[in-house]
């Protein structure tokens, strides 16, 4: 190995370390800050002088209503994901497998709606939901969330269905399956990893939603976790409870990070499916 090649190798490691540090350093700071005591929250040491779970206890104190917020988030994101997947599986199958008129136009329109500014539908829906008394209900958050969850799911699933070979389905149909049976018995089991990945990506998008949840609720009991955390109150009105905000942030993010670590290969495949063509 020549000297320049050796240096190039070392430089690459520095680069890799820089990328990892860039991505993880702020997240690490959230974790460290959440483990400090309130008295030394403004410390800037890289490790907490005393590890304390004081902030985590504060998060779960009844006055913050955090448990309820987590439950709300789970309900809203869960139902949104389930509904979006149910509809998207059928549509994506048609998009990937059937020939029909205006297919490309319809697919382009569906994808285009996913880039729609959310505020453009929140404003009119806020007025409508106020009139029909839907403010502070789950449906007032689930219905607008479909506007981004459904196109996302359709797009991801279409790419997955396109990657599966036509022949399997044809073979099943030659053996006497109808198209419906071939779909149920061949396509769905084979596409399960793709459907699962799409479910994770859609769930993360719905879980992270803020604008809709903020606009459609004004009762603390109906707020989702991101909204509730942003409104955490400190001991006095002018004191921001940074410690418990960081602790709650860690609690909300950890499940997502674990999911991402477990299924990173699949998620990357799902996220980059459209772009790598």
């Amino acid at each position: 190995m020549t000297i320049t090649a050796k240096w190039r190798g070392r430089l690459l490691y520095v680069g890799v370390a820089a990328v990892v540090a860039y991505c993880l350093a702020p997240f690490y700071w959230m974790l460290v800050s959440s483990l400090r005591r309130t008295s030394d929250i403004f410390d800037t040491s890289l490790l907490p002088s005393t590890v304390s779970f004081e902030n985590y206890r504060a998060v779960f104190s009844p006055s913050q209503g955090f448990t309820r917020a987590l439950l709300n988030s789970l309900i809203v994101a869960g139902i949104t994901t389930a509904l979006a997947l149910l509809l998207a599986t059928f549509t994506a199958y048609a998009m990937a497998r059937l020939e029909f008129r205006f297919k490309r136009l319809i697919l382009t329109l569906i994808i285009a709606t996913s880039m729609f500014p959310v505020v453009s539908i929140v404003v009119p829906l806020l007025k409508l939901f106020t009139d029909i008394g839907w403010i502070n209900t789950y449906q007032s958050m689930i219905v607008p969330s479909m506007s981004f969850a459904l196109p996302l799911a359709v797009w991801n699933l279409t790419t997955f269905f396109r990657q599966m070979p036509d022949e399997l389905e044809h073979a099943a149909m030659i053996d006497g399956c109808t198209r419906g049976q071939a779909f149920r018995k061949i396509i769905i089991p084979l596409a399960a990893p793709g459907i699962f990945t799409t479910a994770i990506i859609t769930f993360i998008a719905a879980w992270n939603e803020f604008l809709i949840a903020l606009s459609m609720t004004n009762k603390p009991a109906m707020q989702t976790a991101p909204v509730a955390i942003s409104k955490f109150s400190g001991a006095t009105q002018f004191e921001t409870p940074f410690g418990s905000q960081m602790a709650a942030g860690v609690l909300v993010t950890i499940p997502l990070v674990v999911m991402v670590l477990l299924f990173q290969r699949r998620i990357v495949a799902g996220l980059t499916a459209g772009a790598a063509k």
Partner: protein
């Protein structure tokens, strides 16, 4: 014709194709036309059945609100009527006054939000692209620790924007780590240019890895032979990047940049939480529209929402028309005719099997 009839379950598309290859059959055209229209109609019916629920839901949650917003933007706000002196309980019709208002004295707030939105979009997407491409090049070259890097790079993407905004507000606190590192006392989250900088740093942190991922996927499909050929021809590393990597990665990069632009144009969570509502230095169009709506001024709010929608539409069209970004990702018409050809071949093969 009885001998080549396919079983009913298999006659899905174009089974008539096999018929016209047999000479001497009575009325081959008539049979062909009939079966083919029936097959296409069946496929069309099925597609309608499968696609319409999605289209129905999207019409209810996207199309209907958009039309409502258009109508609503023509109405004013409740409140004191200057002519009669009474409190109005209904919203008066004002025509296009909500739109023309942006050119009047009250338009300052709109134009401020418009320029903030544009500034954030241009600067963040520019920085993200640079950092993202650099990240992708490093990840592409690295062999050991690639799984670790790829897992790490997904972390900023998975952190909810609202949470990352809180995190950065903590980092940019006057006694926080950012000021400790640079050794200056800057009040990042108060009005001023530094608030813009704070928003840009937080946004770029969260989204540059996403561009990195998409570009990496584009890099991985470039065959090694292309680089080898270039090296033999004596191309420098920079030359290789400029003349091979960049043009070949362009389609992936273009789609990534388009997505990021449209996402940045509707930015809301980050400035709202990091700095706060109704702050001139960071108010975006989304924040302006949401703020007006939450103050029950639905008319102006709808007008701003419609204008933002048109702005986003314009940028998206520009990308697709001028730069040729391929969103659907099936290569357009060529892909479709290839698919049709493949299907025709399988249809032929199937007819042979069943004959």
């Amino acid at each position: 014709m009885a001998d080549i009839k396919t079983p009913p379950g298999t006659a899905v598309d174009e089974p008539g194709r096999a018929a016209d290859r047999r000479p001497g059959q009575p009325f081959p055209e008539a049979g062909l036309r009939r079966t083919r229209t029936r097959a296409t109609a069946g496929s069309g019916r099925m597609a309608t059945l499968l696609v319409s629920p999605t289209l129905l839901v999207l019409s209810v949650v996207v199309l209907y609100p958009t039309i409502m917003a258009l109508k609503e933007s023509l109405y004013g706000t409740k409140g004191l009527d200057p002519k009669t002196g009474f409190i109005r309980t209904t919203e008066p019709f004002v025509g296009l006054r909500n739109y023309t208002g942006i050119f009047g004295a009250a338009g300052d707030r709109f134009w401020n939000a418009f320029w903030n939105t544009t500034f954030f979009t241009v600067v963040t997407v520019g920085l993200e692209t640079l950092i993202g491409v650099a990240m992708a090049l490093i990840m592409h070259k690295a062999f050991r620790g690639r799984a670790l890097v790829r897992a790490g790079i997904l972390v900023p993407w998975a952190v909810p924007t609202a949470i990352s905004a809180l995190l950065w507000r903590w980092i940019f606190n006057s006694n926080g780590i950012a000021n400790a590192v640079i050794g200056h006392q800057i009040l990042w989250t108060t009005e001023g240019f530094h608030a813009k900088v704070a928003v840009i740093i937080a946004e770029v942190w969260k989204t540059a890895p996403f561009i990195g991922l998409l570009v990496l996927a584009g890099l991985q499909v470039i065959p090694k032979e292309v680089y080898e050929a270039a090296r033999i021809d004596g191309a420098s590393a920079l030359g290789q990047f400029w003349h091979i990597t960049l043009p070949l990665v362009k389609p992936a990069l273009l789609v990534a940049v388009l997505f990021r632009c449209l996402d940045a144009l509707r930015m809301f969570d980050l400035p709202y939480i990091l700095v706060g509502a109704q702050k001139n230095s960071v108010e975006t169009l989304s924040m302006l529209a949401q703020n007006e709506a939450s103050n029950v001024r639905f008319g102006p709010a709808s007008a701003y929402a419609v204008l933002l929608f048109l702005y986003v539409l314009l940028i998206a069209l520009a990308f697709v028309r001028v730069l040729g970004a391929d969103l659907v990702g099936d290569g357009g018409a060529t892909g479709r005719s290839a698919g049709r050809r493949r299907r025709r071949i399988t249809a032929l093969r199937r007819a042979e099997v069943t004959a």
